[in-house]
C-alpha cells in the first residue's frame, strides 16, 4: 500500500521529546496527506503543541524522524520548516504590534534585499487575502486589529511565504460561529486545492465537520486515528479524556426560570461610550442591565467592543460618556481597586498578559486581589502563613494541577492557569462577575469545571456578564444574550430560545427586529 500511494505531505515517525522529567511526546507517529484536513485533538498537555512545535522547527525531537513529501528532513529552526512549506498559525500570534501587516510579512522573509519594497508586498497580500476571502488590509497596524483579524493576517502571511502545509493551533478558539464556519470553508477549499492542513482543536463538533481524518492524543501518545464517518463526538471525547464528560453530551436543558424571580439590578450601563486602542470610539452601549442571579451573555465578532466593555466596567479604561452603575452606586471611571472592592470579579481576556503574573509564584498570583486586607495583610505587612494557607486552599479547592505554591504561574498549563485565576476571582463571593472568554484555549476537563463554577455563582445570586465568542457556551450559561456589533448592542435575545441564525445576523450588523414587522406596525 505504501509503495502505491504518493508520499504523504508530512510523516512523523516515533517522535519522542522530553522536557526534564516530563515526557511530552512518547514515540508519536503522525502523518498528513496532500489534499486532506487532518485534525489533531487532545486535552491540554496531551502533547499536541509539542508535536507541532517539532514540525515547525521550534523544538528538535530527542528521537524519531520527520519527512516532508517523502524526503527525510531535519529542521534546525522555524525558517527551515517554512522553507519546506510548513506554516504554523499559533494561538498566540507571532506578530509585531507596531508594524503594519505588510511589514510583519517582510519581517518573516529570509534574505531580504535590504531595502524593502512595501507596495509590492501589499499588493500581493491583498491578492492572497482576496483569493481566500480573508479580508486583510495589508496597510493596517497589527495593534489595531482584533484577535480574529490577526489570525487572518497569520494565514495570509504563511500563504505569502509559500506554505503548502498549514498547521492551525486551535484556530477557532478566537472566532465567532460565522467566522469559524468561514474558516472551515476556507480550510476545505484549501485542502481541495491540494494543501495539507493540520487542525488542532478541542471542539469536537468542528473537528467532525472539517476533518478527513482525526488523530487523538492523550498524555504524550497517540491513542488512535479515525475518520468522522466512523466516529462521533462522544467516542472522540472518550478517547481524549479516557472518560465520559457530562457537559459534552448535551448542554443541560434546564427549565427557564420564572420571569418574576428576578433579583436587583447589579450592573446598569447607560449611554456608555469608550475609545479603543486606536483612539476611535469603540463602545457605545445605550442601556444594558444585569440582575442578581442572572447571566447576561455578550456575543459578537472579536474586536466589536467586547474588550472595551469589560475594561470600562472594571475601571481599566476611561468611559468617555455615560455611566456605569454597580449595585446602585455610580462607578463610572472609578479606580480599578475601588470597583473590585464593590464586589466585582474580572476574568480578563488574556490571562497571562493581564490576569496573572507569569514570572511570579502561585502564592503571589493567588493574593493579587486580596493582598490588601486581613487575613493576608496585617497593616502594611503580608502574613506569610496566611498567604500560604490561602494559596493552598485555592489550589486544592479548584484542583489546580501544580507542583506547589512556589511554582511560577507561567509553568502551569493554560487550563490550570485559568482555574487558579477564576478561583481567585470567585474567592470573595463577588456580586458581579465580568468574565471574558473564560474557557478560551483550555481543555474540556477545565471547561467543565469552569462552567460548573459559573453556574454555582449564578445560583448563589451573583450577576454575571459573560463575554464569549463560543455561542454554545453562551447558550449553556446565559439567560439572555446581547449581541455587540461595532460597539453597539444590536439586540438582546433570551438564550433558551436563541436563534443562531438571528444572532449571526446581528453579529454581522443586521438589527434584531425583522424589518417586515416594523413596517407592518407603521403601515
Amino acid at each position: 500500500m505504501q509503495t502505491a500511494s504518493p508520499p504523504a505531505a508530512i510523516e512523523m515517525r516515533e517522535i519522542s521529546k522530553r522536557f526534564g522529567p516530563t515526557v511530552a511526546n512518547d514515540r508519536v507517529s503522525f502523518d498528513a496527506r496532500w489534499g486532506e484536513v487532518h485534525a489533531l485533538v487532545g486535552e491540554n498537555g496531551a502533547g499536541k503543541s509539542t508535536l507541532m512545535s517539532i514540525l515547525a522547527g521550534l523544538y528538535r525531537p530527542d528521537s524519531g524522524t520527520l519527512a516532508v513529501d517523502g524526503q527525510p528532513v531535519r529542521f534546525r529552526s522555524p525558517s527551515d520548516a517554512i522553507a519546506h512549506g510548513i506554516g504554523m498559525v499559533y494561538q498566540h500570534f507571532m506578530l509585531v504590534d507596531t508594524f503594519t501587516v505588510a511589514e510583519n510579512v517582510i519581517l518573516g522573509e529570509r534574505g531580504g534585499r535590504g531595502l524593502v519594497e512595501t507596495a509590492g508586498v501589499e499588493r500581493k497580500l491583498a491578492e492572497i487575502s482576496q483569493r481566500y476571502g480573508l479580508g486583510v488590509d495589508p496597510a493596517a497596524r497589527v495593534w489595531q486589529l482584533s484577535v480574529g483579524e490577526q489570525q487572518r493576517v497569520e494565514i495570509v502571511r504563511l500563504l505569502y511565504l509559500g506554505a503548502r502545509i498549514l498547521v492551525f493551533d486551535e484556530p477557532t478558539a478566537v472566532l465567532t460561529p460565522q467566522e469559524s464556519d468561514a474558516l472551515i470553508r476556507t480550510l476545505r477549499e484549501m485542502a481541495a486545492q491540494g494543501f495539507a492542513i493540520v487542525f488542532i482543536s478541542h471542539k469536537l463538533d468542528e473537528v467532525l465537520a472539517v476533518a478527513d481524518r482525526v488523530t487523538v492524543m492523550r498524555r504524550g501518545r497517540t491513542v488512535g486515528t479515525t475518520t468522522p464517518a466512523e466516529s462521533d463526538r462522544r467516542a472522540l471525547a472518550r478517547l481524549m479524556v479516557g472518560r465520559d464528560l457530562a457537559a459534552l453530551v448535551e448542554h443541560p436543558d434546564e427549565e427557564p426560570r420564572a420571569d418574576g424571580d428576578v433579583g436587583e439590578v447589579v450592573l446598569r450601563l447607560t449611554g456608555l461610550c469608550a475609545d479603543g486602542e486606536n483612539g476611535l470610539q469603540a463602545l457605545a452601549v445605550d442601556r444594558l442591565e444585569v440582575r442578581a442571579g442572572r447571566t447576561l451573555g455578550v456575543a459578537g465578532v472579536a474586536g466589536n467592543g467586547q474588550r472595551e466593555l469589560a475594561e470600562t466596567i472594571t475601571g481599566l479604561r476611561r468611559a468617555t460618556r455615560g455611566t456605569v452603575e454597580i449595585l446602585g452606586r455610580d462607578a463610572t471611571n472609578r479606580p480599578a481597586a475601588e470597583i473590585a472592592a464593590l464586589g466585582v470579579a474580572h476574568v480578563p481576556e488574556d490571562r497571562l498578559a493581564t490576569g496573572l503574573v507569569g514570572g511570579m509564584d502561585l502564592s503571589a498570583n493567588a493574593i493579587l486581589r486580596d493582598y490588601r486586607a486581613a487575613p493576608i495583610a496585617r497593616g502594611p505587612f503580608l502574613v506569610p502563613r496566611a498567604v500560604a494557607e490561602f494559596t493552598d486552599r485555592l489550589i486544592h479547592e479548584h484542583r489546580v494541577a501544580a507542583p506547589g505554591r512556589d511554582a511560577k504561574a507561567r509553568t502551569l498549563s493554560g487550563g490550570n492557569q485559568q482555574k487558579l485565576l477564576i478561583g481567585r476571582e470567585l474567592a470573595g463571593s463577588p456580586r458581579l462577575i465580568v468574565a471574558v472568554h473564560p474557557t478560551r484555549g483550555v481543555d474540556v476537563g477545565a471547561i467543565e469545571a469552569i462552567h460548573a463554577q459559573l453556574r454555582q455563582q449564578q445560583a448563589r445570586g451573583a450577576a454575571t456578564l459573560l463575554i464569549s465568542e463560543d455561542l454554545d457556551e453562551l447558550v449553556a450559561l446565559a439567560d439572555d444574550i446581547a449581541v455587540l456589533f461595532e460597539g453597539r448592542v444590536m439586540g438582546v435575545v433570551p438564550a433558551r430560545r436563541a436563534d443562531r441564525e438571528q444572532i449571526g445576523l446581528m453579529m454581522a450588523g443586521v438589527a434584531a427586529d425583522a424589518p417586515a414587522e416594523r413596517s407592518a406596525a407603521h403601515g
Binding site: L368, Y371, P384
Partner: protein, 367 residues
C-alpha cells in the same frame, strides 16, 4: 534541500538550576583570572605573584580587609538602591548623581544648618539629609516617567552630570573653604559630624547603615504589601493595573527610595571618610552599583556579597598598583576582565549552545 549538516545553535534555558547559578559565576571568575594571567605574563610579570598581592592587599590582612569594608559600604547602599528600582523595571542609572545629592544635603546640615549640634543629633540629621537629598534628585526622573512617560534611563543618567557639576560648583564657589589655598573642597565638618569608626581603621558606621538597609529592603520586598506591589508592577504592569495598584505613585516613590539609598551612600562617604565635600569624592560608586545590583540578582543577600567582592577587587587593584609598581592601567584592566567574564557567564547561564547533529535515521537520503 535539507540542511542536514552539524552546527551550533543558541537556545534559551527555561530556568537555570540552582547549582548552575552558583557554579557558573565561580567558573567565570576562574576563567577571568586565567585570561588576566595571560595578559600579566605578556606584560612581563608573574601572574601568581600579582594575584597573591591582590588577595593579600584586599583580604589578607586587617588593613586590607578594613579598606575592602570601607569600599563595600557605598557599593552596598547604592547597589540596594539600584536594585529596588530595577525590581520594578525602572532603569535608574542615576545612582551616582543621587549619591552626590545625598552628600550635598548632608554637607549642608553639617556646615550650615546646625554646625554646633552634638553628635547624637548631627549624625541622624545628616543621615536623614542624605536620604532626602538622594530622593529629591531621583524624584525628577521618577515623576517625569510616571506622569509624562519620559524615559527614566536617559533623564537619570543626564542628571548625574548635573549633580556632579553642581557639587563642583559648590566646592569651587559658595561653599569653598577660604583657607584651602585653592584646593577645591568645603571646610572640614565639625567633629560631631564624623561617623564613629571601628578602632583605628577607616571602617565606619556607614557599613552598619548598609547592612541594616539590606535587611530592610529584603523585608520590604518579601513581607510588605508595598514590596509585593513593586514586584508585581515589575513583572507585569498590566496585571498591576488590573489589580488596581497605584502605578504612577509607586513609580515616583520607588525612584525616590532608590535615590534615598544612594543618597545615604553619599552621606556616609562624606561623613565617614572625607569629612568634607570634595569634588569627585566618588570614583563612580553609583555606576559600579549597577553592576553590583545585577550580579547580586537584585537580591539583598546577593548584593551584599557582590558588593564585598567587588570592593575587594577595587582594593586589590589599588594595592598592586602601589606595591608592585605595575602600570596604572593593569588594575582596572583586571577588573574589566573579571566583570566581562562574570557578565558573560550570566548570559551563558540563560542561554546554551546546542549542537545540532544529523539524526541518524534521517541523514541517509537527505539531498
Amino acid at each position: 534541500m535539507a540542511e542536514a549538516g552539524a552546527g551550533w545553535r543558541i537556545e534559551r534555558v527555561p530556568a537555570p538550576s540552582r547549582t548552575a547559578s552558583i557554579l557558573v559565576p565561580i567558573a567565570s571568575v576562574l576563567l577571568a583570572l586565567v585570561a588576566g594571567a595571560i595578559l600579566i605574563r605578556v606584560a612581563g610579570r608573574n601572574p601568581a605573584e600579582v594575584y597573591r598581592a591582590m588577595l593579600a592587599g584586599s583580604l589578607g590582612d586587617r588593613n586590607g580587609l578594613a579598606e575592602t569594608l570601607v569600599k563595600t559600604t557605598p557599593l552596598l547602599l547604592a547597589g540596594l538602591g539600584v536594585a529596588v528600582a530595577f525590581r520594578m523595571q525602572l532603569w535608574n542609572i542615576g545612582a551616582e548623581g543621587q549619591l552626590y545629592f545625598g552628600a550635598i544635603f548632608a554637607t549642608w546640615v553639617a556646615l550650615f544648618l546646625m554646625p554646633g549640634a552634638p553628635g547624637w543629633v548631627m549624625v541622624p540629621a545628616m543621615a536623614v539629609a542624605g536620604l532626602v537629598g538622594g530622593a529629591f534628585w531621583a524624584f525628577f526622573p521618577g515623576a517625569l516617567r510616571a506622569f509624562l512617560n519620559v524615559n527614566e534611563t536617559i533623564t537619570s543618567l543626564l542628571l548625574n552630570y548635573v549633580a556632579i557639576l553642581y557639587a563642583e560648583y559648590l566646592v569651587h564657589g559658595p561653599w569653598k573653604d577660604p583657607q584651602a589655598f585653592g584646593f577645591p573642597g568645603t571646610k572640614q565638618f565639625p567633629d560631631a559630624a564624623a561617623l564613629p569608626h571601628w578602632g583605628t581603621t577607616r571602617v565606619h558606621l556607614g557599613l552598619v547603615f548598609g547592612l541594616v538597609a539590606a535587611a530592610v529592603v529584603w523585608f520590604l520586598l518579601r513581607r510588605t504589601r508595598w514590596g509585593y506591589e513593586i514586584s508585581v508592577m515589575g513583572e507585569n504592569a498590566r496585571a498591576a493595573r488590573y489589580a488596581g495598584m497605584p502605578t504612577k505613585r509607586t513609580i515616583v516613590l520607588v525612584m525616590m527610595l532608590s535615590g534615598a539609598l544612594a543618597g545615604l551612600a553619599g552621606m556616609s562617604e562624606v561623613a565617614g571618610i572625607a569629612h568634607q565635600l570634595q569634588r569627585n569624592f566618588s570614583p563612580g560608586y553609583g555606576y559600579t552599583a549597577i553592576i553590583v545590583a545585577w550580579l547580586g540578582r537584585l537580591h539583598p543577600v546577593g548584593i551584599t556579597v557582590v558588593a564585598f567582592l567587588l570592593a575587594a577587587l577595587l582594593v586589590g587593584g589599588d594595592q598592586i598598583q602601589m606595591t608592585m609598581s605595575l602600570p596604572a592601567a593593569v588594575a582596572p584592566m583586571l577588573q574589566g576582565i573579571i566583570l566581562f567574564f562574570v557578565l558573560g557567564g550570566e548570559v551563558l547561564l540563560r542561554y546554551r549552545l546546542v549542537r545540532t547533529s544529523p539524526a541518524p535515521a534521517a541523514s541517509g537520503e537527505a539531498a
